[in-house]
């Protein structure tokens, strides 16, 4: 079977769920006939029509707030927030409403919705359209978070996210939209909270997510030539966070590097390494290392942006230093 793009897998993943469940309905800006600004919704309007694929005004609060009200009353909405930076425009719903309503009503309601959003940098979109903000969602108990790195995982995680009775934020990485990989088999479902060991290695564990998975794999390739055997764990989800798989890997390698695209300051890797330090201290033969974005707004020029976000070279350097510790 020919390889498919990450981009077309987004539409494929949503379409599969819309075919099996008539209560799955999409809403967002430019997602109808336009197919989404990243064309991640291409074909859905044609197949499912205006009763299942709804164009909205530029009203992030209305989009996510309406999705919440619909989710509480028998619909499974899939809401698109065009760029993840715009989550700030409806942050009340992600921080105060959606994750809390089930809890603060004593379990009287459920909110089975998906908020999908294009996340991350590397494309020269500047400081307000390039951020990796998965760590924003990671600060809020009550949200599940998926961030696929391959076309098949896009489909498999989308299936789990849409079928979940809990709210799930799906971060689709802009830098991966054009990437290709094997198509998802029929009925492909990747459970939320199961990390994937995508490369076996004996010397160093690298924990990665979404865009940093290909970075970790290319660093591993490079270091293999230097006799450094790198294991790469693709977390796939931040919540549930599969620390069991991470700690099992560290048990084999005794060394841990986390590579994340959100800023070092407040990034999700801090939680991963704190659990590793707390529960895996005896497994470690070296300090834990985080490779993350620099703590500045994302700059525009390529030369500047490349300086700020994690790269294969930066990660390879960190792994080299750690393996010789």
């Amino acid at each position: 079977m020919a390889d498919v793009t990450y981009r077309e897998s987004v539409a494929e993943g949503i379409a599969r769920e819309m075919r099996r469940d008539p209560t799955v309905v999409c809403l967002g800006e430019d997602i109808g006939a336009a197919g989404g600004v990243f064309k991640t919704m291409a074909g859905l309007y044609d197949e499912f029509g205006p009763r299942r694929v709804w164009d909205t005004p530029i009203s992030e609060q209305a989009i996510v707030g309406a999705a919440m009200g619909a989710a509480m009353t028998g619909i499974r909405p899939v809401a698109e927030i065009m760029f993840s930076d715009f989550l700030a425009c409806c942050w009340d719903y992600l921080a105060n409403e959606i994750p809390k309503v089930r809890y603060m009503t004593g379990g009287q309601v459920t909110v089975p919705l998906v908020v999908r959003t294009a996340n991350g940098g590397g494309l020269g979109f500047g400081a307000q359209h390039s951020q990796a903000v998965e760590n924003w969602a990671f600060t809020v108990p009550g949200l599940k978070i998926a961030a696929p790195s391959t076309p098949a995982d896009v489909v498999g995680l989308m299936a789990s996210a849409i079928r979940s009775d809990d709210p799930v934020v799906v971060f689709e990485h802009k830098g991966l939209f054009a990437s290709k990989g094997p198509a998802a088999p029929p009925d492909h479902v990747v459970p939320l909270g199961e990390a994937n060991v995508v490369r076996r290695g004996a010397d160093v564990t690298v924990v990665a997510l979404a865009s940093t998975v290909p970075i970790a794999l290319s660093a591993a390739e490079q270091l293999a030539a230097e006799n450094i055997d790198v294991e790469v764990v693709d977390l796939r989800c931040l919540v549930p966070l599969d620390m069991r798989t991470v700690l099992e890997s560290v048990r084999r390698t005794s060394r841990l590097v986390v590579v994340e695209e959100n800023p070092y300051q407040g990034g999700w890797g801090a939680t991963v390494v704190s659990v590793a330090a707390d529960e895996g201290f005896e497994l470690l033969d070296a300090p834990v290392v985080r490779v993350a974005a620099e703590c500045v707004p994302l700059p525009f020029a390529d030369a500047l942006e490349d300086e700020v976000i994690p790269s294969t070279a930066k990660l390879a350097d960190a792994i080299r230093r750690l393996s010789s510790y």
Partner: protein, 330 residues
């Protein structure tokens, strides 16, 4: 010309609405007393004085319609069937509380009768009501969603986003502003560009609006019934602005000294219970028995709530996820 039968039916209905208001009034008074006695922690935002909005609107709804309310929402929970005992138990952090003592005064919810929550971020629930109305149209159920909100909510973005989307999608939603003239401690008129903070915004979204006497339970019921009929018929949203007044301050022990004495006096004379009682007297019906029942119901609710066990600390770790648990990692 009203017949005797009409008058009898009206008296019976009004007496029922009166009794609901009387129960709410006494529950709010009990909440205040329990707060002052230190048995209710945190905060309360009492709706005494605004009972006619909740009771009148509820009377115009189907049992399966949806209601979204604000942190000043005790009256809406009770009007949609929550018991005073469960509400007061919630306020007093008891295990028998309406939300298992995980919500508190600001988040009373009775989802099994369509009261889908009380929200404490001003204006946040208007888009939710729009979503519930959207859901009703998608499922073809002819349900209507009602969002109750204060005058202060009309100046936040979510209000405007909700009105626009509801209008564009022509959804069965009724926006009911409880204009009690003050956003917290500040007169709404001093921070709003228009005289009627909700109704005067309707034109911007090409929506019909009506200003109604929010202290007359029958007028509220009639106005909501008109809006609901329209919504159910597929003719889109309506904005209602119900003029009303708080009998207590904004929250906790606020004495509301920022309100002029003559204004307070004039509004207290227009107490929704007084108005309903006067109308019932005209119809030859006494409220004595209803008052007595309300008094007893709430007194018993207070005692039962006081006697209930405190919240079990283990409850802190339930109800985050749909599976009932709170696990965030393996």
């Amino acid at each position: 010309m009203a017949t005797d039968t009409d008058a009898t039916a009206l008296a019976a209905e009004l007496l029922d609405l009166y009794e609901q208001m009387a129960v709410i009034r006494r529950t709010e008074k009990a909440a205040q007393d329990l707060f002052l006695a230190g048995l209710v922690k945190g905060t309360t935002h009492l709706a005494a004085g605004q009972e006619a909005v909740a009771v009148g609107a509820s009377a115009a709804l189907r049992p399966d319609d949806y209601v979204f309310a604000t942190y000043r929402g005790h009256h809406h929970a009770i009007a949609r069937g929550a018991s005073p005992e469960a509400c007061l138990a919630e306020l007093m952090s008891r295990s028998t509380g309406l939300c298992k003592a995980k919500g508190g005064s600001m988040h009373l919810t009775k989802a099994d009768s369509g009261m889908l929550g009380s929200y404490a971020i001003v204006g946040s629930h208007l888009p939710m009501a729009v979503g519930a109305a959207w859901s009703a149209t998608l499922r073809g159920t002819e349900q209507v969603a009602v969002a109750f909100f204060g005058d202060g909510a009309t100046n936040i973005g979510a209000f405007h986003e909700a009105l626009n989307l509801a209008a564009v999608w022509k959804l069965p939603v009724v926006f009911v502003c409880e204009n009690n003239l003050y956003m917290e401690y500040t007169p709404i008129g001093s921070v709003t560009a228009v005289a009627n903070p909700a109704a005067d915004r309707a034109a911007a979204y090409d929506l019909p609006a009506e200003v109604v006497d929010g202290n007359d339970v029958l007028l509220v019921r009639n106005a909501v019934a008109r809006a609901v009929t329209k919504a159910r018929a597929g003719d889109g949203p309506t904005i209602l602005e119900a003029l009303t007044y708080r009998h207590f301050g904004h929250s906790r022990t606020d004495p509301a000294t920022y309100r002029p004495a003559d204004e307070v006096e004039a509004w207290l004379a227009r107490d929704p219970l007084t108005i309903a009682r006067a109308r019932l007297a005209e119809l030859g019906t006494s409220t004595a028995a209803a008052d007595e029942r309300a008094e007893r119901t709430v007194a018993e609710a207070v005692e039962a709530a006081k006697a209930a066990p405190p919240a079990d600390p283990a409850e802190a770790f339930t109800d985050v996820w749909a599976d009932g648990g709170a696990a965030w990692r393996t």
